[in-house]
Amino acid sequence: MLSFLVRRMITATITIVVTVAVIFIITRKLGDPIAFMLGPRATPEQINFFREKAGLNDALGLQFLNYLRDLVSFDFGESISTGRSVSSEVLLYLPATLELVTFATLTGLIIFVPLGVYGASRRGSLIAKICDGVVTLGVSIPSFWLGLFLIFIFYYILELAPPPFGRVSGSSNVESVTGFLTIDSLIVGNVSALLSALSYLALPCLTLALTSCVPILKLTKEMMVSVLKSPYIRTARNLGLPEREVVWKLAFKNALVPILTLSAMTFGFLIGGSVLVETVFSWPGIGLYAVQSMYKLDYAPVLAVTIIATVSFVFVYFLVDLISAIVDPRIRAKS
């Protein structure tokens, strides 16, 4: 087990460093953020003055080494366009994305895993057919379109949903502790703020769940179908075990590992991949922060978000490997 963990950590570290290096080089080749920051009336002397000040005239290798050195102390540098510390800006935006993605993934799991299990155990039924339809629709519909559609229906027509900006209503005074407004509301016992935060989360979470988490439904159904065909399941049924026990206690446990893996990968992907939904719902997350920085060729925020997304993905994947090894004795034995 220890060697398994060490191997995984080495792989993770290499992945992160290579990713950072590639993004570092690519962003610097795309253009000059100083010219954009100073505006069209800037002279070449002004541009050069600020490039020197920001260290952008140094050799690329030196810039990268300086960046890595600062990264060790979790210093993501300074935004060229705002002059603010990227670390502090990331701390403002990251909790919003984590909260959104966590709830979206949970929503996906809560809705799609039971549906997938039910659809697999009732093959040929209406529910199974509907599940297939939901999967097809979910992977086909663009997330920004679905988001706008849900806003139009639930906010504009039915007047059920709150307006698509902000994370909580203006009248809810929630002091930020973790940055997760749902948890912060619970901490102080502010029920109305909690409900408000959940209401603002509802539509963006549903949008992400329906478009990004829907493969969980397909995988659950397929895994369960495959496992339910196994000889030991037939034996269990023949021995007269209740169907519910056969499905949930025997079959589901064996289908769980790949479902967990996919869920974790989805979560990791969504940390950097929810930008369209964040834009449509004016959700102040790091995806939006990165895109707006990219428009200005502001390297530091783009790099910071890339690192966070990569580290999150790698960490989650590592965690899933670990849990899989614990849950499935065959993986433990192999490793």
Binding site: F36, P40, A42, Q46, G83, F154, L203
Partner: protein
């Protein structure tokens, strides 16, 4: 023995029980969403409605900066315009429906009580208005002098404003007493009043800034990344990055208190969402709406699409230092081939007017010329192509920014029109920063950009900014010794009659040379709820919140 799975496999069975179960499962799963959303009912983002003194404004993103010395981005400039007092202002003219525009021929004081020109234009005497900053510190000559020193020392974009009127050293600004100072210029400048209205000339509370600046932050740059120290109509109450900005009216401001005592600027990146929120009444003003979206709001219940004639222009730049547009005949041919009436009425939804020449029609110095190149004449276009050595047409690339929706729309219409005379235009859409870099490097063959305007409405400034061989915005590599000569004469000419004559001469030269094409002259368009009026159209196109009222 048959198992349940064997019985179910391969058969599509729809029993009543199945239907009920399906409805139940999916109903519970997806009905939870609207139920959860409904927890938000009754809670409002801001208090709006009849008589409400709270204005809800939808903006597209964060202001990059709060420091006037660094102002470049539109949202940042708008914020500074409303939270800082500028040195000067303009008188206002009613344009109907309760809306107004600035009279750029009449400069008045804002933070300055008066500004007088002496010594043949070499000395500008500035008298400071008596009022205080929100901190309680009185506004004094020291604050103006500090603002100049800081701008020159930091060297950000705002230095342009001072340099262009001839101020390059802080020793040129001298204190006479606490409420008066002078600026010494190397040569008379006709644009001093207009330049000092720039939002980057917001007057800083120097006492408060020096108190709050850290020991390693001599000019308070770090402090001003998250704070505002102006004495404008509003103060910055709250700034939640990525979410909202809240302003409160400044009781110390020297003008009467604005109608809206509180302003919530909600950050709503998607323009479609902003338009929807305006329709629902959640916001009172939606900024950054393209003309296409604005046209769909015209006639909507509860919405006014305010349209005020402006000096805005949509340009198609033609690079004069490389083929094909180093050939004047080909530039003229492209100009003659475009359907200007159609571009304004159809492509831009009648929210623009056709151009009458290179000069903005609504500029006071504009004089209709008989050599207006922007008249559609297909036969003339073909003749010019032949004269230019391209009787069968030619092809070129045209770059537009992905952030400029109207430019993208125009590029398609222009491409289509040019195809009819055999000219092939390839549209290249670029990310904003890369587009801007290409503009600065003049690496394009042509480009289209919309809503361009000089912040100062003056013929010298217009030439200085765009058309001389050394102009910073000469993004088309135009080089005309004749035009340079006119600009040089205008630079220090204070006589109105002579200035008008020189401006006319410049217009003739430009119309003949066609360094760029004015595709259309858009109106200043602002989408507001119908109970909002008092929109003030400023030369810089920035929204002035203090003039707005709710009926």
């Amino acid at each position: 023995m048959t198992s349940k799975s064997d019985l179910n496999e391969g058969k599509f069975q729809v029993s009543r029980r199945d239907l009920l179960k399906s409805a139940g499962i999916f109903g519970v799963a997806f009905a939870s969403v609207p139920l959860l959303s409904a927890c938000g009912i009754g809670e409002e983002a801001g208090v709006s409605g009849s008589g409400s003194k709270v204005l809800n404004l939808g903006i597209s993103g964060d202001p990059s900066v709060l420091d006037p010395a660094k102002g470049q981005q539109e949202i940042a400039n708008m914020l500074m315009k409303n939270t800082y007092a500028q040195w000067t202002d303009y008188e206002e003219i009613e344009v109907g429906d309760g809306n107004k525009r600035s009279d750029t021929t009449k400069v008045i004081g804002d933070a300055l009580e008066s500004i007088t020109v002496e010594d043949g234009g070499l000395t500008i005497r500035c008298k400071v208005r008596e009022y205080t900053f929100p901190s309680g510190n009185p506004v004094t000559a020291d604050d103006f002098i500090y603002t100049v020193e800081r701008t020159l020392a930091l060297k950000y974009g705002s230095i342009f404003v001072l340099n262009v009127i001839g101020v390059t050293d802080s020793s040129q600004v001298k204190k006479v007493n606490d409420m008066e100072f002078t600026i010494t210029l190397p040569a008379p400048s006709p644009i001093v009043g207009g330049m000092l209205h720039d939002q980057t000339m917001g007057v800083l509370d120097s006492v408060a800034l020096k108190e709050n600046a850290g020991s390693d932050d001599a000019w308070g740059e770090q402090y001003l990344t998250t704070n505002s120290l102006g004495g404008g109509a509003y103060t910055l109450k709250e700034f939640v990055s990525g979410t909202k900005i809240v302003l409160e009216s400044n009781p110390e401001y020297h003008r009467e208190e604005p109608f809206f005592t509180s302003v919530n600027m909600q950050i709503i990146p998607d323009p479609n969402t902003r338009a929807l929120l305006l329709k629902s009444g959640e916001i009172d003003v939606a900024t950054g709406i393209s003309l296409a979206s604005a046209s769909r709001l015209v006639g909507e219940d509860g919405i006014d699409v305010v349209q005020i004639p402006s000096r805005l222009q949509n340009f198609m730049g033609l690079m004069a230092n490389k083929a094909p547009f180093n050939n004047k005949k080909l530039r003229q041919a492209v100009a003659a081939a475009l359907p200007y009436d159609q571009l304004s009425s159809e492509t831009l939804y009648d929210l623009a007017s056709p151009p009458t020449g290179i000069w903005p029609t609504n500029a006071p110095a504009a004089v209709p010329q008989d050599n207006n190149p922007f008249v559609t004449d297909i036969d003339k276009a073909k003749q010019l192509l032949a004269e230019g050595g391209q009787p069968n047409g030619f092809s070129f690339d045209c770059e537009v920014s992905t952030a400029d929706d109207d430019a993208k729309t125009l590029s398609v219409a222009v491409k289509s029109a040019l195809a009819e005379v055999g000219i092939t235009m390839n549209i290249r859409e670029l990310a904003p920063a890369i587009y801007q870099e290409n503009l600065n490097a003049k690496s394009m063959q042509s480009w289209i950009q919309t809503n361009l305007v000089d912040y100062v409405d003056d013929p010298y400034y217009h030439l200085f900014l765009w058309f001389t061989s050394t102009s910073v915005l000469n993004w088309f590599a135009y080089n005309s010794p004749a035009l340079d000569s006119v600009a040089k004469k205008l630079a220090n000419e204070l006589d109105d009659g002579k200035r008008a004559s020189l401006a006319t001469e410049a217009q003739k030269i430009l119309n003949d040379d066609v360094p760029l094409i004015v595709l259309a002259e858009p109106k200043y368009v602002l989408c507001v709820r119908s109970d909002i009026s008092g929109v003030l159209q400023e030369p810089d196109g920035l929204l002035r919140i203090r003039s707005l009222i709710r009926e």
